[in-house]
Amino acid sequence: MKISLNMLREFVSAPADVKRLASDLTRIGVNVESVREQEDDWILDIEVTSNRPDCLSHLGVAREAAAFYRKALRMPGAHLAESDIRAKDAVGIAIADTDLCRRYCGRVVEGVHVGPSPDWLRRRLEALGVRSINNVADVTNYALMELGHPLHAFDLDCIRQHRIIVRRAKPGEKLGTLDGVDRTLEADQLVIADAERAVALAGIMGGEESEISNSTRRVLLESAWFAPASIRRTAKKLGMRTEASYRFERGADIEMAPVALDRAAALIAELAGGEILRGSLDVYPGKKSRAAIELRETEIRRILGSALLAGKVERLLPALGFRVTRRGKTAWRVTPPSFRPDVSGEVDLVEEVARHYGYDRLPSRLRSAPPSIERDSRRAKESELTAGLVAIGFREIIPPAMVDPEENARFTAQPPVAIENPLSQEASAMRSSAMPSMVAALARNLDRGRHDLAFFEIGKVYTPWPNMPASSGPSAGLASLRHSETLADERRVLALGLTGSTGSAGVHDKPRELGFFDLKGHIETLLGVFDIRPLRFESLAARPYEPNLAGRFLHGNEALAEFGELRQALAAQYKLRQRVWLAEIYLDALMRHPLRPRVFRAFSKFPSAERDFSLLVPEEVTYEHLDQMIQGLARNEIRGYGPVERLPEGKIEKGYYSLLLRVTFQSAERTLTSEEVSDASRELISALAELGVRLRA
């Protein structure tokens, strides 16, 4: 809302210093965004919050200033020279739908000469960002800027039978509005009609056929009050937003209707000539008195932490238009004025007092929450996990969760959640896999010549619940959702993306291309933060991964992580020229496991001996088989073991591959003799022999 300082000064004696005025207004909640000099005037640009329609006018801003500076508020005069002809003989007004129109006032001005507005009016309107049209239309806009009440002027001779009926539109009724659009109306939309047809869209825009033109001689001025919700619904539906609808949907001042009407009629008579017919038509079926609100000193103290303000109630509230009567020593009965639809409860009154007193003058106190013995294990787990990720070289990314559903489908069979009004096709669904965003992130950096990348993301994937009952009365059903219920299945995942080599080439190290086991190792490290027993691995055939190069970890039947090489056909679609390794770790499942316990176990003080066994292993025997066999031995002397080298099948002997197994022998009780080590070794070898494993000669 633009405010002219000159116009404002007609309502109140504002301070000469416009900067001070701006900062004072802002301090009391009338937020002045900018101040700029224009010719002999200053224009204040005010951001008016949606609860304060009263401030969408010079009068409203002046009222705030008057209350703050303790000045009187002056209303503009309306000098009405009425003729002897009665307005009610010239036009008839009826409200058919009183639920949507609580008041309709009208005046008739006869014998006008429509033409350009005088300079002063044009300049003032233009300074406020309003285009000048003609003297009659300009007056209605000027009164709107002054008083905040929307007005409309009809060419009375275009109103059939000179009858105005405020009613809901007939389904399919047509109306050509002033913006040149022919509109087809719906039954719940309010119109101003004459005896035969709709002539205006109530509270939003007039109709073309009754528009003021240069040939107009008789003007019917309308000043009414329309129900905010109805105006809002109609304007939204029709995609229209006008100065009038903007104010009506926020709530116009029903008592301002006749005042603004008189002001405009007087100005039209002054600027366009003509005579004002006698009397104002005022159909007011919806008169309601506002309920008084009790305001207690105790509530002021409870909400603001200070009782000092109680003394301000009796000065401030009346200055803002409230009616205040004292109730006992520490309470008041307060009736809000008609222009303050936002004030309906005690706490609203507390705010009125507080904002004029100044928030910065209110007390301040630091209060902590009561201490709690509860531990936030989720936080501890997440911070250990991310510490691990950072330590092994992963960078966190936060890619958008919105994706192209087609792209999403390349990675998962789970449907994504569709967005009804997306900004673009590329962001028209909430992803059901974290992979598309991860691959896009990798691709983006590869395109920029960065070849060694390790990314992680902790984010959600979204999919509709599989059996959301189609019949359950949707919006009511959704409204009754309790806190624990969610509308869609949202799962937290940790996504990993890895590509390139083990490091950049340098004088010290020769980098090596990353492979499946680099990824698997990272995942083992991360899962190792938790105590997951038993943890099982299996190979995996899944949509985004290259067959034979994907696997997953499970606890029972619950998958904790799935990972593998991005399918090369998919990589080609992203024009990736190097292999990409991806993983999704399911955090909701993982976080249910406790962190790896920290329990000290005494270690052996006796020396250990390590032995390497060069094994010939039949092709079909996996390391997991060997592993299980050795674990099955349960020999105390075998403290640890692991594969240190593997030569592929066929190289040594057909049908076999060679594996060098390193075993550590140690006892907690004594130094093992070489015979004991040999015994344990023999037992190990003969157990492995059951799998067809032989020692290499």
Binding site: I397, I398, S608
Partner: protein, 393 residues
């Protein structure tokens, strides 16, 4: 004379005519064997195949039937030894053979003993370096070369800021709470006193989602973290001290200061006798912690449907200290968050009696805080996953 030469001669030829000399000879052989074994362990085999090869060579050198050192000793020392020395030579020879068997046995049955003691190969290497015997001066490397790095990863700047903010409130005993991102219109708007019929609803440019079986415009991508206020009140009741970090979504065309997805932090305190004074004091504490102890706060009236009274909080400009500069557009102040006393209607919707309890709440953009903290000028950078950006944090 080295060992190879010695074992080709008889004891007599070597002048070993008493027990002392014989034992010294055997000790020399044992020492050589041990040294070679050690050499193998600490030696620089490039890989296990090479090490294996070396093992086999060692075994062959000592244990081969033909031309092995031990069989040569048998042949040249034991067999032709004089009778009076025979028992002694025989005993020494047996000991040697047993020791030598280590090489054999280890290779074929007990695995290759790679670390008889607990020193790693590298440690063993170091140990030999410090021995004066092998004190060949090491060719001095260029120590000014950069070290061999193992690069650390990094947390996203927004995560870092979120953690810092969370940490400040955790210090005050607040708990962290989260909520769903796909939210009902009820929790996102209606319960927060933002009915469809009120223009305030338009302050949130909303992305709606389609769910099977639900009407149009019934579910949204949450436009703020505030629905968690209601969810948490329902779940925990009062008293309640919460901090809610999370992603939110707006139907906003992306530019340098707007993103379709961004992060908010919501705070909520509900207790008996919570007043505007607590709001001011707590937020003042927060900004002093976050921006520095010299930071001042300014509260101005504002409007949010879910708080009453509502305020906009500004902090004294961190760049100029309040004197006025480009950062604060010469005003000395920068607005960073909205806050206010929880509206009684909202408490009621959360199942909390507004006559007994009162509360205060705040909400702000974490991205904006990260932009301020790190001097980032374009919010889009946070969501583009560009390493050139990420590696700076």
């Amino acid at each position: 004379m080295n060992i190879e030469e010695k074992i080709q001669r008889t004891l007599a030829e070597l002048g070993a005519d008493n027990a002392e000399i014989v034992q010294a000879l055997f000790a020399e052989v044992r020492a050589a064997m041990e040294a070679e074994r050690q050499g193998l362990i600490s030696g620089g085999a490039a890989n296990d195949a090479e090490r294996q090869k070396a093992c086999r060579a060692l075994r062959d050198r000592w244990l081969a039937r033909k031309n092995g050192i031990i069989s040569a000793i048998d042949e040249h020392w034991l067999k032709p030894s004089p009778r009076e020395l025979k028992p002694l030579v025989g005993r020494a020879f047996n000991e040697l053979r047993q020791a030598g068997a280590e090489l054999e046995v280890s290779q074929l049955a007990s695995g290759v003993p790679i670390k008889p003691d607990h020193r790693s190969a590298a440690q063993a290497g170091e140990a030999t370096q410090v021995q004066p015997a092998s004190a060949d001066p090491v060719a001095a490397p260029d120590l000014t070369l950069p070290g061999a790095h193992r690069a650390l990863g990094s947390l996203h700047p927004v995560t870092q800021v979120l953690r810092e903010i969370e940490g400040i409130f955790l210090e005050l005993g607040y708990r962290t709470e989260t909520g769903p991102e796909i939210e009902s219109v009820y929790y996102n708007f209606d319960a927060l006193n933002i009915p469809e019929t009120h223009p305030a609803r338009d302050d949130w440019d909303t992305l709606y989602v389609k769910l099977p079986g639900s009407k149009d415009n019934a579910a949204v991508l949450r436009t703020h973290t505030s629905p968690v206020q209601i969810r948490a009140m329902e779940k925990y009741g009062a008293p309640l001290y919460l901090i809610v970090p999370g992603k939110v979504y707006r139907h906003d065309n992306p530019d340098a200061s707007h993103a379709t997805m961004f992060h908010q932090v919501e705070g909520l305190a509900v207790d008996r006798d919570i007043s505007f004074a607590d709001l001011k004091g707590t937020l003042d504490f927060f900004v002093k912690k976050f921006f520095g102890s010299g930071t001042r706060t300014r509260f101005q009236p504002s409007f949010f449907p879910f708080t009453e009274p509502s305020a906009e909080m500004a902090v004294s400009c961190w760049a100029c200290g309040g004197k006025g500069c480009g950062v604060c557009k010469q005003s000395g102040w920068v607005e960073i968050m909205g806050c206010g006393m929880v509206h009684p209607f909202v408490l009621k919707n959360g199942g909390i009696n507004p006559k007994r309890y009162s509360g205060w709440a705040f909400g702000f953009g974490a991205d904006r805080m990260a932009m301020i903290r790190y001097g980032v000028t374009d919010i889009q950078l946070f969501y583009q996953s560009d390493v050139r950006f990420l590696e700076q944090f």
